[in-house]
């Protein structure tokens, strides 16, 4: 195991008590246990409270646009498959602005991990509803409450044969560390959604609210994350009981395997000018 101090980043600007803190801690723990060094790791994030996550950690960082973590992360993987790539996104970021990329990435199956910091609210912009806000959740903009049900994100992932689909809870750090480790070592696209209480803008889905509901799906007798129908049902379970753990797993070829150029290593090492006579040959 590597020392945790290796991963120290700049000082955080999150609110005290924010669910992002235990996530950061669990993530560092997972890295240290897996012995992933900062210079082997690229974190790609968008804009939102989660978007700041990579800054609070020492690692390669690309903090891009709201909603666009997945294409940047995919591009980086396709340029250098030697990098361990983690895309960090908010629920608004990934299921709202960036929903189309999630659909496409599930199809592509690049070998990277997506962590969705799901606080069921737009934190950074001060409390509007997100796609995962529960129906009836009241905001300044929707004083009568969100009129429609939340996105069923994990069911979406199962339905698209996402190759690894899991859920963690920021209030269960040890379990979360384990999930981070599994997601990071999974070959293919892993989607880890983490229930992350926002103490400033989500006064409904609090630590306590989650604690009363979450249960470890692996404790369910016989639960088999490779059983698609069972996984589908677990993925849709939301209310009195909320499963955490590995929901679904399916072995699939990765995107990287489909690009023969990557067999010769990182693209940066392959840059070369090309002979003009050969390029022009077809045109005479």
């Amino acid at each position: 195991m590597l020392p945790l101090e290796l991963y120290n980043g700049i000082e955080s600007a999150w609110c005290p008590g924010c669910g992002n803190f235990p996530m950061l801690k669990a993530f560092k723990q997972a890295l240290a246990e897996l012995e992933v060094r900062p210079e082997e790791l690229l974190l790609v994030s968008g804009i939102g409270q989660s978007g700041k996550f990579p800054h609070y950690l020492k690692c390669h960082t690309f903090n891009g646009l709201h909603g666009r973590t997945l294409p940047v992360a995919t591009g980086a993987r396709l340029a250098n498959p030697a990098l361990k790539v983690v895309a960090v996104a908010g629920d608004g970021d990934c299921y709202g602005e960036g929903g189309n990329h999630l659909l496409a990435t599930l199809r592509r199956n690049p070998d990277l991990t997506l962590v969705v910091h799901n606080n069921q609210v737009y934190g950074l912009t001060k409390g509007q509803a997100s796609p995962t806000s529960d129906q009836g959740f009241k905001t300044v903009l929707q004083p009568a409450g969100v009129p429609y049900p939340p996105l069923h994100a994990l069911a979406l992932a199962v339905a698209q044969d996402g190759s690894w689909v899991g859920r963690g809870f920021a209030g269960d750090g040890e379990h979360l560390t384990g999930l981070y480790k599994q997601a990071l070592t999974h070959q293919g696209f892993s989607l880890l959604e983490v229930l992350q209480p926002c103490v400033s803008f989500n006064k409904v889905n609090t630590y306590e609210w989650y604690r009363q509901r979450v249960y470890r799906v692996e404790a369910e007798p016989g639960y088999d994350p490779e059983n698609e129908l069972w996984a589908y049902q677990k993925a849709k379970e939301w209310g009195e009981r909320i499963p955490i753990g590995v929901i679904y797993r399916k072995t699939r070829p990765t995107l990287e395997e489909a690009h023969p150029a990557l067999r010769a290593g990182p693209l940066a090492s392959q840059i070369t000018t090309r002979p003009i006579n050969q390029l022009l040959a077809d045109f005479f």
Partner: protein
Amino acid sequence: MAIDLNILIGGAAGQGVHAITLPLAKALVRQGAQVLFVQDYQSRIRGGHLFNQIRVADRPLMASREGVDLLVALNQETVTLHQAELSPEGVIIYDAARVKELPAGRPAVALTHEALLPGTQAGEIAVNAGACGAVLGLFKASLAPLLTLLTETFADKGAQVVEWNLKAATRGYELAKTQGFRVSLAYLTPPSKPRLLISGHEALALGALAAGLNFISGYPMTPWTSVLNTIGQRAVRWGVVVEQAEDEIAAINMAIGASYAGARAMTGTSGGGFCLMTEALGLAAMTETPLVIVEAMRPGPSTGLPTRTEQGDLSFVLYAGQGDSPRAVLAPGTPAQGFALAVKAFHLAERYQIPVFLLTDQYFGDTQFTHTASEFPEVQAQPAPASGPASDPYERYAFTESGISPRRLPGFGPQVVVADSDEHTPDGHLTEDLTVRVKMHDKRLRKLETLVQELNGITTVGAADAPLTLACWGSSLGPVAEAVDRLNESGTPARLVHLSELWPFPRAVATAALSGTKKLVLVEMNATGQLNRLLRQETGLAADHLVLKYDGTPFTPEYILKELKGHI
């Protein structure tokens, strides 16, 4: 005698008009003609009327002209729509099964399946190949290059198809050879330096490949798709990662991710798709990630005329994205420029760590020009992206005099590389320190001050002191150059000034080239004179007259001369 012939080949979409025009055009090139080959098509796959034009001459051609000397009609509509364009001695070659009405008193060559390939099931092959042969026959040109080309082209369709093509072409050739025609190409000889026929987008794509491109992501959109396809078809051979994106937003963000991680990356689109890329354009500028973007214009606003041409996006690409952010804009006028500027775009993007545009259009992209191989020089190897000294601890955005900070790649050393779309400190982390903000903003914009010294891109024709100057940019080079030639030939001294490197605006060279003329005319394929706006804003110079065109078709020398009447 100067030869200048216009062949128009028209038919219904799906009838194979494109398929037959290319071998014919190449056959002419191989035996020594100069050729310009223009496609005109509608936004439909089958049934709509479409036509191609081959202009043939004995001097280099950079534009199509009006008038038709030889009309190849694969359907009645071609005759109906284009007979008025026929020159006095013009000849018609037609599919007798489909064309029932011809203008009276015109020499014409009828082609039929029965005459060309009797008793076969060759379908459209008969008349298509027959027509190619007939054109050469009429011109008394050599048939052999066409036969070679048909063999090459249809090799993978099987021996039967090749045989039909050869037979029909030969029959057509013989049928037409006996027909009188005012000029003969019998004197042509294969060029000493082999010539090629290449479109703007093909040349641009080859330039990118020559410069070391190894990542491209894109979403299909006419007319940009031809760049993507040209590279896609060569991807496996040259080790390029090609990824078809789910939308243009993903396309550009993927390319940025790839470039950040060390790939030599490009993306592209047309105006509508570029709208969706503008946010990430700013991301590339802010994170100082090299990126080459092809913006292939077509008439707008909105969906507009998807398969036609215009130069309407210049102002847009100059200022796209919020805030003041650095970029460079290059707009080639010929395939050779397309090749050279693609190479230059990668050089500038990488050296200045900014997004660089290749601004093209449908006319530039699809039109095929005759070039010699020597116009496509070997590309000099460039230094690796992350070279030169860097500080320790590493600062991705270290303040420097030039504004250029030493770049490092993630995964290629012990330093971590931190890039951020927020305003950031030299080490890449987000900041609200307003002094750092100002310094960082200045640093980014300062890069253009050095960059502009690498720009020039001025092409001129005509005497430097000509009282009349026609200025233009991008794909209008050819027609305007020919209009200037004709003016000079007809005794009106005129000068062409063509700009291909538009931003940061090369004030000094442009002012030098444009000042001192009596009358300045801007020739642009848009409705508002976008280069004229830029020129006035940057230099105070302004056109005395604008020649504009925005009907979706490219300039012809004739159109320009007509529009100049009364103004010169």
